[in-house]
Symmetry: C2
Subunit: 397 residues, 2 copies
């Protein structure tokens, strides 16, 4: 039947991370592969109470019934309050609930991209963003957070298509762990203005800062310039996946009304709405324990990041370099030129049972063969020390 | 920002049903509008236990964590067993879990349609299918379940594009309530073979038969011809929305492996997976009480259908015709030529506070102005009798 598939199907291939995850069921593997939260940190008791409450006599009919595509109003109100706390003045009507921020990326690709249009992305960038956008057959051009390329260059490269948006995760990005500083964020806003394109800000890791000074979201900086969310071209995507639970699939978008309105229509056509009861449960848990829960998550992951950085210092041979993230879940390693992350993975799995993600897949142009991504979020400090020691041994010999 | 939107955005407009639902908050309205299950029928106690169990110490880490894009294996096994009961011999690897069958329609449009390709649909057909497919910019051609048009005609009309699939809901379809008989199903299979296109079978209402003989799903008939699911071009979309709960957003697709494999990649790129805990809860409830629950649902809706048919008989003026569905949620009225369903709705809401859906929106070509859709699922018999009497009065004068 594949001869009937649309042209886009040819661009949708199995992800390396996914194939990798199948190996992780083997006993004894130390995995730094998936960007997976530690399930011990899920506020499971609070969710137990929240689901029970949603299914109580007063609200069960609502919890199990169809609901509006925009999302559950009390949750949208909570999110608007949360966004105001991080510097984005908005109200519930500026918020759309999505089934995780992955869905927001899919819908934004769908909203903006006709085949041949250009999406600016990092080299490397989040693999799931490339997968989501690929369905709409764009070309990718390299977004340099420092701002090396100018609007004219981007426009010339775009050819007959148009540059529709730049996508990035400015805080502790997947996969590099790097953060774009305030000046870099302002430069991106300048570029978006010059290009007259949208700017997709992926805030998936925003709440997971372990040290250093918080930097306002790009949307907050644009709001400060323009004074009105409705004039802003930045589209903020948020998620509860890294803070409360990924399995419930609840995320959100904050943007100017014409964008929200069109996304609502898209969501209505694509899956009607995100599960009602999950939105109610997330609202209840966010309201009662988000502020007390996040410090625990940060403390746990901070210690693991520190353990991984210390182990890298101790065990990596000369010529290997890595990022020192102020938050998030990832450290990005650059091996000596000519080294191959995929070959290293095969060797590491076979000889010392250590898993990670080779970096090439995060590069739309197939570069980055000598890079790898390590996640520290789902291993305790002793396991991290042991795993990095083993990896160092493989690299040295 | 709308100047940046992709061309598809122009085809995604607000649905009439959706705008209507906003009116239904008014006190005293009798609504036959939305195709909404009666929440009193949701197995809420069973769901309460199922969510509690999923969040118990043994499974909470799994319930709140990321999971695989294919869906929760025990649920896929239950669904495969259910499909075998209705005549489709398949296993769990032939099943993909989607966030409601609406998401299956979106993904199938995405999988098959490049701009200009043809989708064959009923005139009228399910509004949500048109909305889902519209995002991929097809042309629509009219599928005549009786089989008036031949493959050559369809192919000639398709022009430079190709006929990629025919879509229909063969049992008690939304909006007409009509069922395609066995001969009609076989004729559709013949047509799909001749056209070498896929056939999307929407089984959303399949379990809600109130009388008459069950007819095998089209996929079952094709399997009987070919003996092998992997050789079949029919893609079956199922849903728990009309049987257990729509708010949990759990549906499924059964199809040949190349289709399932590509849909899995699409789902991974579009929302990673459907909410883990919802799949676990639906599995638990389906396993423990699907078979005992469905007869209650059928009995309730059967009585409501009978009440509506009786009231129509009593109150409709001459020249109004309607379908006599053997199941589902809908009765379809054809008013005298020249009558206008939208004007009737405005008058009915204003003068007698009765709501329904004008039929034009279900027709891709804008015909059907003199048709309306009535849903009997979410009103008790007395309310149905009262509402139809009021509607008859408006129609009479």
């Amino acid at each position: 039947m594949h001869q009937l598939f649309a042209t886009r199907a040819a661009r949708m291939k199995a992800s390396e991370i996914r194939e990798l995850l199948k190996l992780l069921d083997q006993p004894g593997i130390i995995s730094f592969a998936g960007g997976i939260p530690d399930p011990a940190l899920f506020p499971a008791e609070a969710f137990g109470q929240a689901f029970q409450q949603a299914l109580g006599a007063d609200s069960r009919a609502q919890a199990l019934q169809y609901s509006v595509s925009e999302g559950y109003m009390p949750l949208r109100e909570w999110i608007a309050g949360h966004m105001r706390q991080i510097g984005v003045d908005c109200g519930p009507d500026d918020v759309l609930i999505t089934s995780g921020s992955q869905q927001a990326l899919d819908y934004l690709g769908k909203l903006f991209l006709s085949p041949g249009d250009t999406a600016l992305v990092g080299w490397p960038t989040y693999l799931g963003a490339l997968a989501a956008f690929n369905a709409y057959e764009p070309r990718f051009d390299r977004l340099r957070a420092g701002g090396n390329a100018g609007a004219a260059q981007y426009r010339a490269a775009a050819g007959p298509g148009a540059v529709k948006y730049a996508y990035l995760s400015p805080d502790f990005a997947n996969p590099t762990g790097e953060t774009v500083d305030r000046q870099g964020r302002e430069a991106l806003l300048d570029l978006a203005e010059e290009l007259d394109c949208a700017l997709i800000e992926d805030g998936a890791y925003q709440a997971l800062r372990y040290d250093g000074q918080a930097i306002p979201p790009i949307l907050a900086l644009e709001l400060a310039r323009k004074g009105d969310l409705q004039a802003c071209r930045t589209i903020y995507c948020g998620s509860f996946s890294k803070t409360l639970s990924p399995g419930l699939r609840v995320g959100w978008v904050v943007a100017a009304r014409p964008v929200i309105a069109q996304l609502v229509l898209m969501k209505q056509a694509a899956d009607l709405h995100s599960a009602t009861i999950n939105q109610m449960a997330v609202h209840q848990v966010a309201q009662t324990c988000f502020d007390s829960h996040i410090p625990k998550v940060r403390a746990t992951y901070r210690a693991r990041r520190d353990a991984m950085l210390a182990a890298l210092e101790r065990h990596m041979p000369e010529g290997v370099h890595w990022t020192r993230p102020e938050g998030g879940m990832f450290i990005w390693l650059t091996l000596p030129p000519g080294a191959d992350g995929a070959q290293l993975l095969a060797r590491a799995l076979e000889t010392v049972k250590v898993a990670f993600v080779p970096g090439q897949a995060f590069h739309p142009d197939g570069s980055g063969a000598n890079t790898i991504r390590l996640s520290f979020s789902n291993s305790d400090e002793a396991t991290i020390a042991e795993g990095i020691a083993r990896l160092g041994a493989v690299l040295r010999g």
